[in-house]
């Protein structure tokens, strides 16, 4: 293929993608009619759109770029990665239906509003907002950074990563600002399909290049038979009591069963995030959650991960030239149209989660923090316009951080999912566990976040800045930060819930409890199945992602002395495929048989709170602003003083 063709197809495909994005933004804007439906698409998204959008945003481009590279580097020693389809779908199965009903009753449209109404907790509102911002700037920014470097290389360095990133962000800002949530959703379906196609395309290319599935496994077998390669095909024990990564006394592989378990918990963070809540609360009914979570997320996307991403990673393992960037480089020379097609899929995957995160972060900052605390009289039109400005600022901040502070971006990006997982406790309190009290939920999340940050490089770097040295490194005892955070969170929630008044809830929370009891009462048949469900969940967790995953090391054969694997593929890979199938069955059981996400049709009247006296907030808002400025200035001064005195 000539160089001219290669130079034509890349910009042509990007132009096509931009045109499609702006076309759908225009349609979304026309559907929105005015600023009233900008944030939640008038709660009118169909079930199938919600299912596709949720699955695409949950997977994003992380698995294509990061997941495959992880397998390519560490082999199958972290099989929990292959169960991501199930781990990502589980929270939605548990929360979405009840969350949708509660918010429909209280007429809420975001996670922050839900926390404010139910717990009356400003802290949880701020945490939800911070997590949304981290998703927008760091989580999506990391993916955008990787992709912009690839595109920059494809242009032969003519466009720098910064320029590529700015162009992509500009397109994204354009459709988010124009069409709001509706544009994110409409385009999200299109992007999800393209992402799927790219995942299949990459896996197919890798298989064809290596000579098929049999040839790939033959080379894997040769690698596994080598003493140096064998560790790539087994989990290295249940737990190692090391001080963590980056510490001198850390020894052995960190890929233990407990590490895999923690990674699974981190994956469970996405659907507890404010991003997932936004999608759920934009739906026009609750009938599609069961099918979406079971068949689309766990079934289709889980299958793509356990086979597609695994094939890509395995191909990288035996042939490093088959990494995603290298495939792009090769295809640019031999088939630029395929390169362009795959590239659009990757861009779609990144923009899908990035656009959603930007919208949610902008809304949270303006609508859930700025307006209620500092400017209650802000009109709806001004709220939307200010959100557009904030979305632009956040997109710009992300672009600049990608280019100027990649290490800080990486440190922030790595804590997002574990931090989001800490929101499980307050969400469980709203939807299922009535005994979780307001102080317990808020304090639990605070301890959970501390647990996460102190076991990640972010905490290490912050404390190091102030001259404090943590005695451990990243993920001590080979336990992931998500698990450390949840351990702290859980202990605090249990203790504080036990010693605080369980009836001390506000009016809205009392109403939520009454409403869930009446509208979503679980049938007797489902209640009888509860013990079976608990047993099934625990068995699946133990064998698929917990200590039992060690059985997978040898369940389908151990290569050596002329012997191969029983199913012709690595034992842990086959084990993961088996438990993916069982995981889909488990989710089906929870969603339908246990009625956790089963379709329910009901007319939900809006809850009418008792009339309250609305005082003039102007004076209080000014005081709040003054307090914020003073606290910020004092905090900054103290930070500088401590860093100057003790820091490095």
């Amino acid at each position: 293929m000539t160089g001219v063709a290669a130079q034509i197809w890349l910009p042509l495909s990007l132009l096509f993608y931009t045109a499609v994005a702006l076309y759908w933004a225009r349609i979304a804007a026309r559907e929105n009619r005015d600023y009233e439906t900008y944030f939640s698409a008038a709660h009118s998204l169909s079930s199938w759109i919600v299912a596709m959008l949720m699955a695409g945003a949950s997977v994003s481009c992380w698995f294509l770029l990061g997941g495959s590279a992880e397998i390519g580097q560490h082999g199958f020693s972290a099989p929990a990665l292959l169960q991501a389809g199930i781990a990502l779908a589980l929270p939605g199965t548990i929360f979405f239906k009840r969350m949708w009903f509660v918010c429909q009753r209280l007429r809420l449209s975001s996670q922050a509003e839900l926390f404010r109404s139910y717990y009356q907790s400003d802290f949880l509102v701020v945490v939800s907002t911070v997590i949304a911002i981290l998703f927008a700037i760091a989580f999506a920014g990391l993916q955008m950074r990787a992709l912009s470097h690839i595109i920059s290389t494809l242009t032969g360095g003519e466009a720098s990563p910064l320029v590529v990133s700015m162009v992509l962000s500009l397109v994204m800002f354009g459709y988010v600002a124009i069409g709001g949530m509706r544009a994110v959703a409409y385009l999200g379906v299109f992007q999800t399909v393209l992402l799927c196609a790219a995942m299949v395309g990459f896996a197919g290319y890798a298989l064809i290049d290596l000579g098929g599935f049999g040839a790939l496994n033959s080379r894997l077998l040769a690698l596994a038979s080598d003493p140096n390669g064998a560790p790539l095909f087994s989990v290295s024990g249940v737990i190692h009591f090391t001080a963590g990564l980056g510490r001198a006394d850390a020894s052995g592989s960190p890929d233990t069963a407990m590490m895999g378990f923690g990674l699974t918990l981190a994956f469970m963070g996405f659907q507890a995030s404010p991003l997932a809540s936004k999608i759920v609360l934009s739906a026009n009914n609750a009938r599609g959650f069961a099918a979406g979570q079971t068949w689309v997320m766990a079934g289709v996307f889980g299958g793509l991960i356990v086979f597609g991403i695994a094939i890509m990673g395995a191909a990288m393992l035996v042939e490093p030239g088959l990494s995603v960037p290298n495939i792009f480089m090769t295809l640019e020379k031999v088939s630029p149209w395929f390169m362009a097609w795959l590239l659009i899929g990757a861009i779609a995957g990144v923009q899908l989660v990035s656009a959603l995160a930007l919208l949610v972060a902008g809304e949270s900052l303006v609508r859930n923090v700025y307006k209620p605390y500092f400017h209650a009289t802000l009109s709806r039109r001004d709220t939307v316009n200010l959100t557009r400005v904030v979305v632009g600022i956040l997109a710009l901040a992300s672009v600049l951080m990608q280019s100027l502070t990649p290490i800080a971006l990486s440190a922030l990006g790595s804590v997002v999912l574990p931090m989001s997982f800490q929101l499980w406790a307050p969400l469980l309190g709203v939807t299922w566990l009535r005994w979780i009290t307001r102080p317990a939920a808020a304090t639990g999340v605070a301890f959970g976040l501390a647990g996460v940050i102190l076991t990640e490089p972010l905490g290490y770097e912050i404390l190091s800045f102030f001259g404090l040295e943590l005695p451990w490194g990243r993920w001590p005892w080979t336990i992931h930060s998500a698990a450390w955070g949840m351990a702290a969170n859980l202990v605090v929630v249990l203790i504080i819930s036990a010693i605080t008044n369980r009836e001390a809830f506000g009016e809205e929370a009392q109403e939520v409890r009454r409403f869930l009891q009446s509208a979503l009462r679980v049938s007797g048949r489902a209640q009888a199945l509860r013990s079976v469900a608990w047993a099934a969940i625990l068995i699946w967790l133990f064998l698929a992602v917990g200590p039992g995953v060690e059985f997978g090391n040898f369940a389908f054969g151990v290569p050596g002395a002329g012997r191969g694997w029983i199913l012709g593929m690595p034992s842990l890979w086959a084990w993961s495929a088996l438990f993916w199938v069982l995981g889909v069955g488990l989710l089906w059981f929870l969603a339908y048989k246990l009625e956790m996400a089963s379709p329910v049709t009901a007319v939900i009247d809006a809850y009418e709170p008792r009339p309250r006296l609305h005082l003039n907030q102007g004076q209080r808002e000014r005081e709040r602003l003054r307090a914020l400025v003073i606290t910020g200035a004092v905090g900054f001064g103290l930070a500088v003083l401590i860093a100057f005195s003790f820091g490095r």
Binding site: I27, S46, L194, S335, W337, F338
Partner: protein, 141 residues
Amino acid sequence: MGTPARIERGILVFSIWAALGFLGLGFVLEGFTRNAIALSLLGTAIIMAALGAHIVVNAIFQQGFTTGEATLGAAAYGAMVLVFIVAWLSGGLSSANYLSGIALFGILAIGFIAYLTTRYGLRDAFSRFHPHETSSKETAR
């Protein structure tokens, strides 16, 4: 069909052609570049699958092709045929490429006729191509 349904159908149609249509086109071009008839046929099959999926979406939403879609499809088909004929007349086509082109255009044409026939019946399918004039007898009735 209401606006939400029309939009949902549009999203599906866009997704189908972006994923399958472009892939099929890529394979056809790859086949032409490498003189590989098997690749071209694979591309043709994928384009036909996209067309089939489009028709399934139409059936789900109980609608035919929109005027815009029909125009775009006919224009794209016409342009490709024109390029093919010019290339053939200028002698720039190998036998493999010639067969690939004939297969692509032939299968697309047959597929389209088959679609019209199954949707409207033989007689009405023919009537889709010319304006139906109401006879004076019909008016009187």
